[in-house]
């Protein structure tokens, strides 16, 4: 148990400080660690936990306490949350005063604009990997494509899209 908690803490503390461009950029590394390196769950389970976190309100990193809880119960939840939200928060606190000095420097704008292609690449990688672990048959692949198209073309609430996907899934069409 203790080695598992230690590993959880180490993984999420590292992810905390690497999450440039928001939470979705670190999903591939999170999946790689919990599925491929530690074998705590299957890629399919990881996709399901991500979906549950999307269905809940709040910041988009709620998959973190869920993964911690799934791997090691309440202690896992606590360790994963502290490790994920602690280090980046301390860094924010430390930078709050320095920000007054560097926000108008030209390099600040250069760095921020320069990280945009990185964020695009990482979020696209997240989307590809999560899709690969969820689109197991033609109907599920259809739900993926339809949800993406609806989100891009309409102003429908994301919860409505998730609900529609769940209902189509429940009908069991095309699934084994």
């Amino acid at each position: 148990m203790i080695p598992t908690l230690f590993a959880l803490g180490l993984i999420f503390a590292q992810l905390s400080l690497l999450a440039f461009g928001g939470g979705n950029t670190i999903l591939p590394e999170m999946q790689r660690q919990v599925v491929e390196v530690h074998h705590w769950m299957s890629a399919q389970d990881f996709g399901a936990l991500f979906a549950l976190a999307q269905a809940a309100p709040g910041p988009n990193m709620m998959v973190v306490p869920l993964v911690g809880w799934h791997v090691a119960g309440w202690e896992g939840l606590l360790v994963a949350s502290l490790a994920k939200f602690g280090p980046s928060s301390v860094l924010t606190g430390l930078c709050l005063h320095a920000w007054e000095r560097f926000r108008d420097r030209p390099w600040r704008r250069v760095v921020q604009a320069g990280l945009v292609p990185m964020t695009v690449g990482l979020v696209t990688a997240s989307a590809a990997l999560i899709t690969r672990s969820t689109a197991h048959d033609a109907v599920l692949a259809g739900i993926v494509a339809l949800s993406a198209a609806v989100m891009l073309a309409t102003r429908l609430h994301p919860l409505a899209v998730l609900g529609a996907g769940a209902v189509i899934g429940l009908s069991g069409i095309g699934q084994i």
């Binding site: 999450a19 709040g58 869920l66 980046s88 928060s89 860094l91 709050l96 899709t131 969820t134």
Partner: protein, 194 residues
């Protein structure tokens, strides 16, 4: 965001929130924000509670987007710290994630208990597929501004290949490719600028 009609009136509304107000403010935000808390956050902090002016909010958000971690998570910490020190930061952060954590664990309990049931398994498979669709839509939205920037597209493709195809670890990938991303963007913008 459009410019505010009357910034002076907004400044008059401003008052430092207490630790308890920071907690409840972010608690409500955590419960009401679906698929992106940012628009809700601005409404609460600037328009409804008047803790910051519009420009102050934009400036603080700039810091939070610059640093690693979720924008809203960082924003709760920065705001709490600014008004009530470490206790305020903790109150705002815990307020923000408390309710979503309880809800997400509740859903996790349901998933663990029922995912062997074929109906529930189908339901979660459909839900997960729809969630993938949402993520694809988000990727498309943030990729759209790069469409006329070939250098940016190449850098994004390098990150995609490293992470999604080669499955390389994130840390070494960032150490090598993040400076490349910044330098390549800087170089290509300097070249196109007069």
């Amino acid at each position: 965001m459009p410019a505010l009609a009357n910034p002076a009136a907004e400044t008059d509304l401003r008052q430092a929130p207490t630790t308890a107000e920071l907690f409840t403010g972010f608690l409500v935000l955590g419960l009401t924000g679906f698929g992106g808390v940012l628009p809700m956050a601005r409404r609460m902090i600037v328009e409804r509670r008047g803790w910051l002016t519009g420009p102050e909010f934009t400036d603080l958000l700039g810091l939070c987007q610059f640093l690693p971690g979720g924008n809203i998570i960082n924003l709760s910490v920065a705001l709490g710290l600014r008004f009530r020190g470490a206790a305020g930061a903790l109150a705002a952060l815990v307020g923000l994630i408390a309710a979503p954590t309880v809800i997400v664990i509740g859903l996790g309990v349901l998933y663990d208990r029922f995912h062997d049931d074929p109906y529930i398994r189908h339901l979660f498979a459909g839900l997960a597929a729809a969630a993938s669709g949402l993520l694809i839509a988000m990727a498309a939205k943030i990729a759209w501004p790069l469409r006329r920037r070939p250098v940016g597209i190449v850098v994004a493709a390098l990150f995609f290949a490293a992470i999604a195809v080669l499955r390389l670890p994130l840390l070494p990938t960032l150490v090598v490719l993040a400076p490349l991303s910044v330098l390549a963007t800087w170089w290509s913008e300097r070249r196109t600028a007069p």
